[in-house]
Symmetry: C3
Subunit: 419 residues, 3 copies
Amino acid sequence: MSLAKRDLISINDLSDGEIEAIFDVADSLEEPLRRRQARDICPDRIMATLFFEPSTRTRLSFESAMHRLGGSVISMADANSSSVAKGETIADTVRVVQHYADIIVIRNPLDGSARLAGAFAEVPVINAGDGAHEHPTQTLCDLYTIRKELGSIAGKSVALCGDLRYGRTVHSLAFALARFGARITCVAPPGLEMPDHVRHRLIRHYDCRPAEFTSLDQVVTDREVIYHLQVPNHQAAEMLTGDELVPVWDLMSLFDVIYLTRVQKERFRSHAEYEAAAGSYQIKRAMLDKAKKDALIMHPLPRVDELDYRIDRDRRAAYFRQAGNGVPIRMALTALLTGAVRTPAGVAPPPPRPAPERLPPDLVCVNERCVTRNQPYVAPRFLSVGGEATRVQCAYCDAELPRPEGALHPLEAELTEKG
Amino acid sequence: MSLAKRDLISINDLSDGEIEAIFDVADSLEEPLRRRQARDICPDRIMATLFFEPSTRTRLSFESAMHRLGGSVISMADANSSSVAKGETIADTVRVVQHYADIIVIRNPLDGSARLAGAFAEVPVINAGDGAHEHPTQTLCDLYTIRKELGSIAGKSVALCGDLRYGRTVHSLAFALARFGARITCVAPPGLEMPDHVRHRLIRHYDCRPAEFTSLDQVVTDREVIYHLQVPNHQAAEMLTGDELVPVWDLMSLFDVIYLTRVQKERFRSHAEYEAAAGSYQIKRAMLDKAKKDALIMHPLPRVDELDYRIDRDRRAAYFRQAGNGVPIRMALTALLTGAVRTPAGVAPPPPRPAPERLPPDLVCVNERCVTRNQPYVAPRFLSVGGEATRVQCAYCDAELPRPEGALHPLEAELTEKG
Amino acid sequence: MSLAKRDLISINDLSDGEIEAIFDVADSLEEPLRRRQARDICPDRIMATLFFEPSTRTRLSFESAMHRLGGSVISMADANSSSVAKGETIADTVRVVQHYADIIVIRNPLDGSARLAGAFAEVPVINAGDGAHEHPTQTLCDLYTIRKELGSIAGKSVALCGDLRYGRTVHSLAFALARFGARITCVAPPGLEMPDHVRHRLIRHYDCRPAEFTSLDQVVTDREVIYHLQVPNHQAAEMLTGDELVPVWDLMSLFDVIYLTRVQKERFRSHAEYEAAAGSYQIKRAMLDKAKKDALIMHPLPRVDELDYRIDRDRRAAYFRQAGNGVPIRMALTALLTGAVRTPAGVAPPPPRPAPERLPPDLVCVNERCVTRNQPYVAPRFLSVGGEATRVQCAYCDAELPRPEGALHPLEAELTEKG
């Protein structure tokens, strides 16, 4: 199946092969000789960037990508200077804008809003961030940066550090890293740990159980090693086994990639707690001495004070290159989704999304920020969670909720109907 | 006379033949094969979009149109991020921007502001909405949609519904529909009826007397029919004559086009009044059962709750196609006004605008929102109202006011001078 | 040395020859025949316009220039709809955006911010206004307008009128006029005179001592003439010598160029003072009667009420043409800095900027609006002021401050080290 005319709402809308195909196209577009030729790829296409939330980097990198492909851009950079101020729904906005553009890039603060936009637009829709839900092109840039700089993703040891609870990008990234076989360690201050639904999904789908620490400058002692070893298939435990096992080990030395996220002060109850948690999400220059010589320090940017400015000149500081990779990735994606570049033959599509379940029509999503609860005229829909009889998930924001009493799992229902 | 280098401030700046020429160019640009070729029409032209008021759809559709013609766009999407915040006048803004662009598209909240802009700019100016005055490209899109979907405008029965008092688009549309021979019915809640000056102009210029109702779900009875029949040349009455005359008739069944406008809650004194008036401006799914099979439901968008979302999939719901028609119409207009596409030979121009009258220099426009009363250094000018000795109209916002005592009509003055 | 890959932060970053080269390229781009060809100059380049402060004219003229060169533009028109709202530093912003664009145009309210941006970006950076510091492309437009309309700058008599204290553009312009041999007269109301550091620099670098008056409609009497004659090398005095010397002379008649600046009411303690000072910065129609027949009235725009609207149609009113010259100047600059057009051979570069001095690391800039005092992680740097042992200047905002006690001038230090 071709990528042409498809939406990209979640990183899971892409198969592994499709992600590799995007990376290969991005590689080819980065060749200096291709620069002039790229302008012939999309000369007659228009991209609409609809940003209902502030952003510089994401919007400008999409627009730069489209211009480098020779195309044009129409842009709504600010919800306040738009019909949205008059109360228009997302569904209506995209049904109008699809007549003005060949591809729509949308950022909106509501979880699941991009899925809704994709459902209504007849042109491809790219999710450039829908609330706390997904930001798949950031994830593609992150994966691409690791692949480009370290040769591959599989087997690499990646620390995800900082606010793992509310960080939009980091959940998608965790799933994608697990898919591609990276080993994950989570480093988060108390209260900002990876949420349970992400842990569960990592285990359920990828058999991935990240080790967890509360601080990057934490020292791993014997006792913790033993604790970790008791957890089967525990990746940090694996890292600590073998010849290299030592009773005291500095965390920084373990990782191929140290991925920091922005931590918002507002998440903490007091400034004292914020300061106390600093070690978990701040990289200081001295800490780099303990890191691997070819480690990558990554960050989705903008940073606040997670990254000491004095490490910017260290070769391992990869975050500006990571931002730069946004252009070839978004060029490749735009070229493939608009059909201007053909998807290579033989690339397998992802498994189809399950069909919505027949559930009581008054069932509402549990997520208060879900688009179904904040836009009129959107009927909630729910999908079955693979293999689980007791839970369903929102078709828009992916929030999981208990299957309503009396509602059978589709397979059971089928059996019941037959029986 | 060619359309090249002309302004489009009011729909009356175009002759019938010119409007037809715009539609023909738009038709030709919609052919799929023309898509790539269109990019060669304006490759070296720049459009400036100057939006002093929020808008998504109008601005983006102009920008999309220019890009599809191969041109470039510079944009001021928000008055707050501009020199306007420093107090610059519209006249100065356009005299600067004309050096940066080959055509200027302007939206400004002051009535008559676009006429002022056109008077000062040496490049063509398109009015994209000047307060409560005109929005002629919306009118062109509306007419084009009816022509495209129903084959012609003449003889079609059109209901204009909702806020007919304050709705900017609907006054221009009424005049244009009358010009092209459509039959008009007005459906408005009490207090939001078509204003007298619009009725008068419809009668005076086009001999058009719309029937008037207060609600779309109203039933037309014998008595009303008789009442309407007593009014000579009354269009609704005509509709009710002939073989089809029945004693009780549902309004919905009468119309080829049902054109709804946005109704703002603030126009009503209470929520109860707002709710009570709902039937006059809301289309609910059940009402469609009574409508003609090939009727068009139109709306300038954005809608609030005038249109039931459940009719979106009905073929008669034309409002998204109507929005999409903005692109070919604005492409055609841009191509013709910049001279990139030649006006067909033999197309007659509109009658020339009357010359300003010599009136007392302290005469001010009666309209508080007129640009002459809200911008410094703009001398008010007044034109004679065709055939009327007692009234003049503002040359900018078209508001009519009594001719000052002692000021003679130009023809009388001429006679007096001769005599 | 080529202009390619260079920054333009201050007008002093350009040698006289380079400025002439820019003017020659601008001249060539204004030829009508070149219009279509210009689109082949930068077809594969992208300009980023990063505007952290409101602007229409500057941003749109840069964007128009880039489009006329065939290039593309990505734009951040409003700091509020950007990552800046999340607290990102200028250094980080440009290190990201340099991956998206081939040239960066930046406006930021902090003095010295553009120099900082240039230090971090690997692509050329153009200063489009950094607080009260510099606005070099405005200065280029001003000089170009004089040269184009009057044939040359050298020897022309230029009155700088209005707010000479806080006006950003006028300081740069004064230096540039002095460099090119114009004779300067300053006309400012009390309290808004040219600041001492500008006067000092004009004397020190260009041996230029402007005459000073408090009002344009002031009459020059014998006594003032005598006073001025007592000042050696005093330009206004020179103007008043020779055959033309008369006891009473109207100022307006003296000038080839009358350059007005915007005066903000907030600079005055009362409305009465503002009104009283009006004559110093307002040109009224009657005043033009006394001006030279081929004088130029210039203004950077937007004006408030410094310029009587009734003189707009006078040929001498050059301000809209001056704004229009922004396009060819910015086209030329963009083409030269991106390397798309080659710098002519044999054009001498400006003298190199002095190396930063080794001064106590806790020394801070005296300017409260300096970027070094308002952005984290920027180490202040100071340069020696040519030939002065007692003062140094901020490497970012050019503010001068006393050389710290015990800190030797580099030459002295060198001698001391040797000795």
